[in-house]
Structures are given as structure tokens and as C-alpha cells.
Amino acid sequence: MAMLEVSDLHVYYDGIHALKGVSFSVEEGEVVTLIGANGAGKTTTLRAISGLVRAARGQVRFQGQRISNLPAHTIVAKGLAHSPEGRGIFPNLTVEENLDIGAFLRRDAAGVAKDKEQALALFPRIKERLEQSAGTLSGGEQQMLAMARALMARPKLLLLDEPSLGLAPQVVQQIFKIVRTIAASGTTILLVEQNAHMALRVARTAHVLEVGTLALSGDAAALSKDDKIRKAYLGVH
């Protein structure tokens, strides 16, 4: 049984049919990427999984349990953390408070302290800034904070929405290196990216989303050699 199963997912925004029957699954321990052009429905897919938007049809199962259309705040508790598009850090909280709020539902203080230590070891740049207001961080640091905050929930499945968005090339490299480290430590990852080049190198499986439907799916390494993909998403002519 797959860890996450999305089947025939349909989402509407005020009548706009944003997802038109998307189905895919994520196996435990793998990195799956969802790539596609701007507006294809990648963010919407993640939002439907974590309960931020309603699934009009179809369903999402996590570890065998149906989670579609449960209130968002109850889904985190099941082991699914979502680092949203645009990072979604709380600039009115300090960096440390942002981390702590990632562990909002956890009652195991010792485990939380340990995870905080691990997250800070993974992102040393935010460690020096714990007392600062999170709004003062640079874009790259905010992205790191958003990922560290998601890890504070100790998720079994991590949803990452465009972690490379708007970042300088070296920072993008750093972020992807950390994504690899997180995956290597056993966390399953569903990675949404417009940067198909990087995403296909990190992921094992890839799905290509085109205006609300999956156009292509398969092994990431194979897809990165596919002519159509190379032309449309990797900028090779």
C-alpha cells in the first residue's frame, strides 16, 4: 500500500476547474516530484492533500486512511506537513517561535527539543537568528525556516511547494542538497517544482501536470531524457 494515494482528484475555485481528475501515489521513503508550468495545478494538488481546499470529487488517502476534506488542522496530526508556496512563515513571530509553532500539536517536549536541534543542524544559518523576528530573514533563510518548521512536526510525509522559488542559484543548490538529506533520513517527500531540472535530479518518480491533468508520469531519470520533457520543461531545444 502506498503512503499517499490521490485518486481522481477534482478541485474548483469559484467555478474554475483547477484539477480535473488527478491520480498518483507516493510510496513510503521515496521522493516524488510534481512538475509543470505556472498555473498547471501543482499548488492546488498540495492544498487539496493538506485540506486547504475542498476536493469536489475523488479522494486522498494517507497511510490507508481517507483524509480528503478533513479540516486542515487535523491532518498535520496524522504525520503530514506542508511547507506552502511562498514559504508562509510568520513574520510577526520570532524565528524560534516559528519553529516552535511547527510542533504546535506535539506534547513530547524532549522529542521536540531534539528535533529542533536536528533542524538547526540542518539549517545552521537560521540557528544564529533564533531571537530575530522572522520577517527580517532573507528569502533563502525564510525558505530554510519554512522547511525547518515543517520538520518540527516530525512528518512522515513532507509536502514542499516550490522551495526554490525566487532564490539565487547557489541558494537553490543548498536547498536541494538539504532536500536530499531530509529524504536520506527517511522522510517521504512530495516536491512541487517549476525548476524541473533540479526536481528531476532529486526525485525518483515524477509526474507532469498540465492544466489540471497529469500529462506524463514515470521514473524521474527516464523523464529527464524524454524529448518532450526536455523541450517543454528543461529548456533544451
Partner: protein, 324 residues
């Protein structure tokens, strides 16, 4: 700048009238400011999480004052003086009752409109306000007759400075308001709940991704804001004693001035609400006792206009940022 003139004039008047009058005015203004602060905090807390002005808040304050009267008379403390624990008991009761009222209003009237346009919620709030004002006047509720609040605090001076008797009731009002404000400050900035409130205030969707139950946070916010307004209601009744019926304009005016305090301080900002309220209290009471008592409400709105012109986001407010 044109403000300089009145300020210099007031300064000269203060010197001319002597220290005792200044001290008495200061105590009165801080006491009134503390009351405004307790009410202003409710406006600001609710605005913080929902970005909406709860126009029924001043009526919750009025209900708090009237319920204090109801409880005090029910205990038979009209003619006989109350025991020492009388005031704390009434305080707890009205805070609990108004917290319940605030939560009920939120769940029944506002929650169904959470995704509706702002204007709908605003109109509903005005409806709730009118409802409370008029239900409060039913003979089976508080009635239409003004009442005199039993003095649950002994009317005596606590100490005397420069021939000015500092009354126990004023000290109680200021001390209690201060204690409640400090408790709130601690709650908002030092507890898990406060952190959740600040997160919801910035972005409720992302907050829900953290596992925060946004509806619950909103409910608790209404409970806290209403309980503070109730405390303000009791303290108001103790200090000013005469209670006008719930639909009387004095309540709306007091609520309005507390709202002005929240805006002047920077709406959504807890410390700002307190700062704004103290400023409003000082300006109103000093203006009333040194310049003209008939203009006291005008001074408050002059401050509003001045602050909005100089710093539209309020004294402690951050530059306006629309919620995404």
C-alpha cells in the same frame, strides 16, 4: 505646527492651577484610560484575528456593567456594604458571563459569515449591537430605569499626597486594569495559545497547516476580549456608579472612544491599545478639567484625526499590510 499653541496653553494652565489639581486630574485620567484600555483590547484582539471591527463590543461592555449591578443586588449588597470578597466574586462572575456572551455572539452571528464579504459581517455586528441594546432594556432583563451601582469598594481615601485624597476606588480600577493587561500581554507573547493567536492573525491558512484550530482560537479570542470588557464594565460601574439603560448613547460613546483608542494605538496591536487608551484618557480628562468640560468628546476625536494624519497606522502600528 499648529498643535504647539494648545499644548503650551494647557501647560501654562496646569502650572497656574497648581500641583494638587494636576495630581487629581492625572489620577482621574489614568483611571479612565485604564477603563478604555480594557475595552480597546477587545476591539484590537478581535481585529487581530479576524480583521473585523466588532461593533457589538461596546454593548458587551454595557452588559458587563449591568450584570455587575444585577449580581451585586442579587447578593443583597445594596444597602449593606459588601464583604471584602464581594468585588472579586462579582468580577469573576461578570467576566465568565460576558465571555460566554461573546462566544455565543461569535458562534451564532459571525462564524456563519466567516467567508462572506466584510460588509455583511459589519452590518451583522451592528445588528447584534442593536439586539443587545434593546434586549437589555426589557423589563425582565435590565429594564429602562437608570440604576445606581452598589459601591462594592469602600469609599475612602487610601492615602493623601499634597492634600489630594487618592481614593480606593481609583487605585482599584487602575491596579486591576493593569493586572489584567499584564496577564493578557503575558498570554499573547509568552504562551502557546498566544503564539497561535498571533499566527492566526497573520495567516489563518498557514496557521491551520501547523495544526492550529482556527475556529477555536477565534472563539477564545472573543471570550478573552469580552471578559476584559466585562471587567471594564464592573470597574466603570464602581467608579461612575450611575448606570444608564443599555440603549443609552453613553455606552456607544464610551465604546467608540475605546475604539478610537485602539485605532490611535494601532489596531491589532495589544500594547498599542493600552498606549492609545491612556493617551485618550489623559487628553479627555485634562482637556475637560483645564479647558472646557463640554468639549471632552471633541478632544478625543481631535486626537484621532491628528494621529491618523501623522501616522495612519497608529502610534505603535506597523505600516498597513493587507492580509493575503
Amino acid at each position: 505646527m499648529k498643535l504647539g499653541g494648545p499644548v503650551v496653553m494647557l501647560g501654562l494652565l496646569i502650572v497656574q492651577h497648581g500641583f494638587p489639581k494636576f495630581l487629581q486630574t492625572l489620577v482621574n485620567s489614568v483611571a479612565l484610560g485604564s477603563l478604555y484600555a480594557l475595552i480597546a483590547l477587545g476591539y484590537t484582539l478581535v481585529y487581530g484575528v479576524l480583521r473585523f471591527i466588532n461593533f457589538a463590543h461596546s454593548d458587551v461592555f454595557a452588559v458587563g456593567a449591568w450584570l455587575s449591578f444585577t449580581f451585586a443586588t442579587a447578593f443583597g449588597w445594596v444597602a449593606t456594604s459588601s464583604p471584602l470578597w464581594g468585588m472579586p466574586l462579582v468580577l469573576l462572575l461578570v467576566m465568565a458571563a460576558c465571555a460566554l456572551l461573546g462566544v455565543t455572539i461569535e458562534i451564532l452571528a459571525y462564524r456563519p459569515l466567516r467567508k462572506a464579504p466584510r460588509l455583511n459581517v459589519l452590518i451583522t455586528a451592528i445588528g447584534v449591537s442593536l439586539f443587545l441594546q434593546n434586549v437589555g432594556q426589557l423589563s425582565s432583563v435590565f429594564g429602562t430605569q437608570p440604576q445606581r451601582m452598589p459601591s462594592l469598594i469602600e469609599d475612602r481615601s487610601l492615602f493623601t499626597i499634597a492634600q489630594v485624597h487618592i481614593r480606593l476606588v481609583d487605585v482599584t480600577v487602575i491596579a486591576l486594569a493593569l493586572a489584567l493587561m499584564m496577564a493578557l500581554q503575558w498570554m499573547v507573547f509568552r504562551t502557546r495559545l498566544g503564539r497561535a493567536m498571533r499566527a492566526v492573525s497573520f495567516d489563518e491558512k498557514v496557521a491551520s497547516l501547523m495544526g492550529i484550530n482556527v475556529n477555536r482560537v477565534v472563539t477564545i479570542t472573543f471570550a478573552i476580549g469580552s471578559a476584559l470588557a466585562a471587567a471594564g464594565g464592573l470597574l466603570f460601574a464602581l467608579k461612575y456608579e450611575g448606570l444608564k439603560q443599555t440603549a443609552d448613547a453613553t455606552w456607544v460613546l464610551l465604546g467608540l472612544k475605546a475604539f478610537v483608542a485602539a485605532v490611535v494605538g494601532g489596531i491589532g496591536n495589544v500594547r498599542g491599545a493600552v498606549a492609545g487608551a491612556l493617551l485618550i484618557g489623559v487628553v479627555e480628562v485634562f482637556g475637560a478639567s483645564y479647558l472646557s468640560p463640554h468639549m471632552r468628546d471633541v478632544y478625543v476625536f481631535v486626537i484621532l484625526i491628528v494621529v491618523l494624519l501623522l501616522k495612519p497606522s497608529g502610534i505603535l502600528g506597523k505600516a498597513v499590510r493587507e492580509k493575503v
